[in-house]
């Protein structure tokens, strides 16, 4: 399979000179099993350009089929959907999977298209769009690909996905905080709590279970894509934002014995030069490790498993 990054940024798109090498579009990764329809993870603004490229093939003739796996519905993971050209062509078929919310997924996604926020309602999309609600632990197949998922530690809960196909696998973990300081749920956390006080036993146990789920999901995966929005110092200032850092990602990668770790969901204000420095620093730290360390950039394409 091939994995291609169309958006690698967290929180908000950041156009500009200082982000032009890594790219300023928000989260979107295309997984292309050999000879099969694309499986897209997250619908950030990177989805717009992916959509344009898909329109050059079957999607332009209204004969395309795609699956979109949504980690969670925060804006930076869905705001490309209204600009996904294949949705505007009759005959195309798009399956959207996301974790069950309080209201049906279709209603959640419709909100993004509703007046007075957007001129074209979701119901006016000519493509056949099907929503599939899933819960953590769900296992399902998309063609020959096998999908598994587990929950992450993020406000209002995000889902991690693993795709196994063509004898290889990719695991996507964004967005998540480390599993050490805060158990995220529905509460709005106004200020950063102290990181030095021990957690209540039940919270610590819940986080340990969640972490074990992530390590199990990523077990020996060929590519682990991980939320490393923060540096360790930034994380200590903003642990209540629900994002992780490379030190934590490396520990997960070690425990799961992955083959490659890819830093992902870069902070909006992180310049290309900053990203270079972070990658160089952590490549040094991960030198004794068996996995290869990468940092995601728009246009990065990896082939996993047999060509």
């Amino acid at each position: 399979m091939k994995v291609r990054f169309w958006g690698v940024r967290g929180s908000i798109p950041v156009p500009g000179r200082s982000t032009s090498r890594y790219g300023g579009n928000t989260s979107c990764v295309e997984v292309r099993p050999k000879g099969a329809a694309p499986i897209i993870i997250d619908a950030g603004t990177g989805l717009r350009r992916l959509g344009k490229s898909l329109m050059e093939d079957a999607f332009g003739d209204g004969k395309g089929k795609a699956t979109i796996l949504i980690s969670h519905t925060h804006w930076d993971h869905v705001q490309g959907l209204p600009f996904f050209s294949p949705l505007y062509r009759a005959g195309n078929h798009v399956d959207i999977f996301a974790r069950q919310r309080d209201t049906h997924l279709e209603a959640v996604f419709s909100q993004q298209h509703d007046s007075p926020y957007f001129p074209v309602p979701l119901s006016a999309m000519q493509a056949d769009v099907q929503f599939h609600e899933i819960i953590e632990g769900a296992q399902f197949s998309i063609g020959k690909a096998k999908i598994t998922c587990t929950r992450l530690n993020h406000p209002w809960v995000a889902m991690a996905y693993r795709i196994d196909v063509d004898g290889a696998s990719v695991t996507y973990c964004a967005d998540t905080a480390p599993f050490t300081d805060i158990l995220f749920g529905r509460e709005f956390i106004v200020t950063a709590p102290s990181l030095d006080e021990p957690l209540p036993a039940d919270v610590a146990a819940e986080l340990a279970k969640m972490r074990a789920g992530v390590v199990a999901l990523a077990k020996q995966t060929d590519l682990l894509i991980y939320d490393t929005q923060f540096t360790l110092d930034e994380y200590r200032l903003r642990p209540h934002w629900g994002h992780s850092h490379p030190d934590d990602a490396i520990q997960i990668a070690r425990d799961a014995k992955v083959k490659r770790l890819c830093l992902f969901h870069h902070a909006p204000m992180r310049s290309d030069d900053d990203n270079d420095l972070i990658l160089a620093k952590y490549r040094e730290i991960a030198k004794p490790d068996k996995f290869e360390l990468l940092s995601a950039y728009e246009g990065l394409e990896l082939t996993l498993g047999a060509e």
Binding site: N25, R101, P119, P155, F188, P268
Partner: protein
């Protein structure tokens, strides 16, 4: 007053090496008044960068105050709000003037953006700064930060967007983004009157004519529409704004050349033309 462009792109931010010259952030313009006041127009993604720049002044200490004029509530005009650092600093005060039948209705629309399904902020109530929302009454001048401001509603696809005329000591700046006539008829006289004699008219120039022809229902203007309005309204300077997300820097260069040619060929030789670029400033 000093006008600065923080986001000049339409519809959705367009990061990439081919949008660096003009910029890929969505609509946001700041107006600094002679007396140190600040008026912000639209809250696209450019707002984050404006916000970061303000932190070195009073806004960083919770002593800042600004008015925000909102043309309409399509995503590309509000999606910077959650990333505007000054709203998270207690003591800062913001007053939003935007479209709607009631202030409450407008506030609920902005609140919808913070819905916990979509935003970790969950509610406008989690802002630390004072954040008041008012529906602007069209045609009635109001004062904000020492400027006299008048709003006018214009057609924008299946909805409308407000244009604003801002006056300081007889100098006038008109902001008219996201406007498009539903037919090929020229802009109505009332609209030209609203623009009349402006020192600077910032006008929607989303499309080249060939693209508008297939997308008129989206409610945007071409550079020809903008130039024709500028000529009819006898403005001094026309600012091109809200470029289509698919247009590269080369495309916008061509748009500007074509717009200049149109002005020159239709009696607008004396009008100064400025294609808006992120980071550029205009003294009016």
């Amino acid at each position: 007053m000093k006008v600065r462009f923080w986001g000049v792109r339409g519809s959705i931010p367009a990061p990439g090496p081919d949008t660096i010259k003009y910029g890929g952030n969505t609509s946001c313009v700041s107006v600094h008044t002679k007396t140190g006041g600040l008026v912000i127009i639209d809250m696209g993604t450019g707002l984050m960068h404006l916000g970061n720049s303000l932190l070195t002044g009073p806004f960083g200490k919770g002593q800042g105050r600004a008015a925000i004029l909102l043309s309409h509530t399509h995503w590309d005009h509000i999606q910077g709000l959650g990333f505007f650092p000054p709203v998270f600093i207690p003591g800062n005060e913001f007053t939003v003037w935007g479209p709607g039948n009631s202030s409450n209705a407008l506030e609920q629309i902005l609140e919808g953006q913070m819905d916990p399904n979509f935003s970790p902020l969950q509610s406008l109530k989690n802002f630390s700064a004072k954040f008041d929302v008012h529906a602007a009454v069209c045609g009635e001048a109001f004062t904000a930060e020492g400027l006299t401001i008048t709003a006018r509603s214009h057609p924008h696809g299946n909805t409308t967007a407000l244009a604003f005329r801002i006056v300081e000591d007889g100098k006038s700046f008109v902001y008219a983004s996201d406007v498009g006539q539903p037919t090929e008829e020229p802009a109505p006289a009332e609209m030209i009157e609203f623009f009349a004699g402006a020192d600077v008219l910032l006008h929607d120039t989303t499309y080249r004519p060939s693209d508008q022809a297939t997308r008129r229902n989206r409610g945007f203007s071409t550079y020809e529409d903008a130039a024709a309005a500028a000529i009819a309204a006898k403005v001094r300077r026309l600012v091109m704004f809200h470029y289509d997300q698919d247009y590269t820097d080369t495309d916008v260069d061509e748009l500007a050349e074509s717009c200049r040619a149109y002005l020159d060929g239709h009696g607008g030789k004396q009008i100064v033309l400025t294609p808006a670029r992120e980071g550029d400033e205009l003294e009016i």
